[in-house]
Amino acid sequence: MRVIGALIIREMHTRFGRQKFGYLWLFFEPLLLGVMIAVIHNLRGTESIRSNFEFFAIGYILFFKFRGIVNRASSTISSNRGLLYHRQVTLPDLFYARHIIESIACTGVMAVFTIAGVAMGGEFPDSVVKMLSAMMLMFLFAQGLALVVGAATSEWEGLERLVHAMSYLMLPFSGLFFMVEWLPAWMQEVVLWVPTVHIFELLRDGQFGDMYRPIYDLSYVFGWILVSHLIGLTGLRLARNRLGLE
């Protein structure tokens, strides 16, 4: 824990410089993207800006967190290689520190968005606990994938591009743009193979309560989390032994 704490402080310094303003950027980036996507949907759609904002902007933060964690995974080892001179610093620590920063930031932004939604005349979320659980599950799922990606890219660098491409291509299937109940039956079966769909359904359950009929199976998500962590941590252990230091 001591090492992860030190890594978090260090990561904040390198990522945002030593200016105090730098920390704000962490909040500003998802905020800007979230508002933009809500506005675009409002221009095209017929629904009011408020429900669009709640559905898409808040949902986008969840995807933003997933992408932020997984896409950074391939650079985590290479950009921290010097720190491995201290034997306390383990490879998983480097990942945990980054993921915690990303998660705290996204949870903060989500809180700001939710309060803004209420201030604009929306209803208070049905279950804050469910929303936070969705954030937590997304954190763990993305972390498992990031560990796998980190281990794999330390062996095969070319994979990095593939991971970036995949994370964008995943957007339409992630569960951000739809509720499962809106889809025809055959499509429901297909999308429910995607773990993030379940997490998005849980988020919407927390946000809207009885407004939609969410469909999710959390044990399926936990299975993914468990397996990806096992593969990722094993992979990193192998990678550590093969890693040369200058």
Partner: protein
């Protein structure tokens, strides 16, 4: 309290086959001992240092560490070059469980970096880097300092202060400079052909090394 290596092997994968760097290294370093390890270029000094420091695992063999051993202190090691010397000091202090502010104060008074303490480590000369590394490691107070080459501190105020501090601490110095070993160590070993041979008598070790 000691650092023990028992029959340690280390090899790296090459395009064809493997490169065997260490072939059965055995040795014991007790607390407070000052040991010099001499090796010519390409004999695996850096590999041995990384294994002693616990940052690389041996391919085969065991390492037992029952005293605190520093990270390998040398030219490049262990810094984030985009961060300042003070930030690096704070980070290292935190991971070793020391108070960040006290460590920075110590480094400030000891390393003679002046204004550079708040500049990125990337702008440092190699001498400044090694002073920073040594100063931080002194602040953490290890039982044993693991030093890789760069001890080019000479007869400066820093050099004398450092040598004085070392009189009270253990040291493993891995180098190709016999003069440093004579100056700082009480026991010496020679690394050659992947094995380590210890000599109780420094002159004997130096004579063997010079004949290689």
């Amino acid at each position: 309290m000691s650092l023990d290596l028992v029959d340690v092997y280390k090899s790296y994968p090459m395009n064809v086959g493997r490169k065997h760097v260490l072939r059965g290294v055995t040795g014991s370093f007790r607390k407070g001992e000052r040991v010099g390890i001499l090796g010519r270029n390409g004999t695996g000094k850096s590999t041995l240092v990384r294994i002693l420091g616990g940052i690389e695992a041996p391919t085969q063999g065991t390492i037992r560490r029952s005293m605190s051993v520093s990270w390998p202190i040398g030219m490049a090691a262990g810094f984030q070059s985009a961060l300042s010397g003070a930030d690096n000091s704070r980070f290292i202090a935190r991971i070793y469980g020391k108070k960040a502010t006290e460590t920075v104060e110590f480094v400030e008074s000891f390393a003679e970096l002046g204004e550079y303490l708040n500049m990125p480590v990337g702008t440092y000369s190699s001498g400044m880097r090694s002073r920073l590394g040594l100063a931080i490691s002194l602040a953490v107070e290890f039982d044993c300092f693991l030093v890789d080459e760069a001890l080019a501190v000479g007869d400066t105020k820093f050099g004398r202060a450092f040598a004085a501090r070392l009189q009270r601490a253990g040291l493993i110095l891995v180098t190709h400079q016999p003069s440093l070993v004579r100056q700082l160590c009480t026991r010496a070993a020679v690394l050659d052909q992947g094995t380590l041979t210890f000599y109780e008598d420094i002159d004997e070790a130096l004579a063997t090394y010079n004949s290689l």
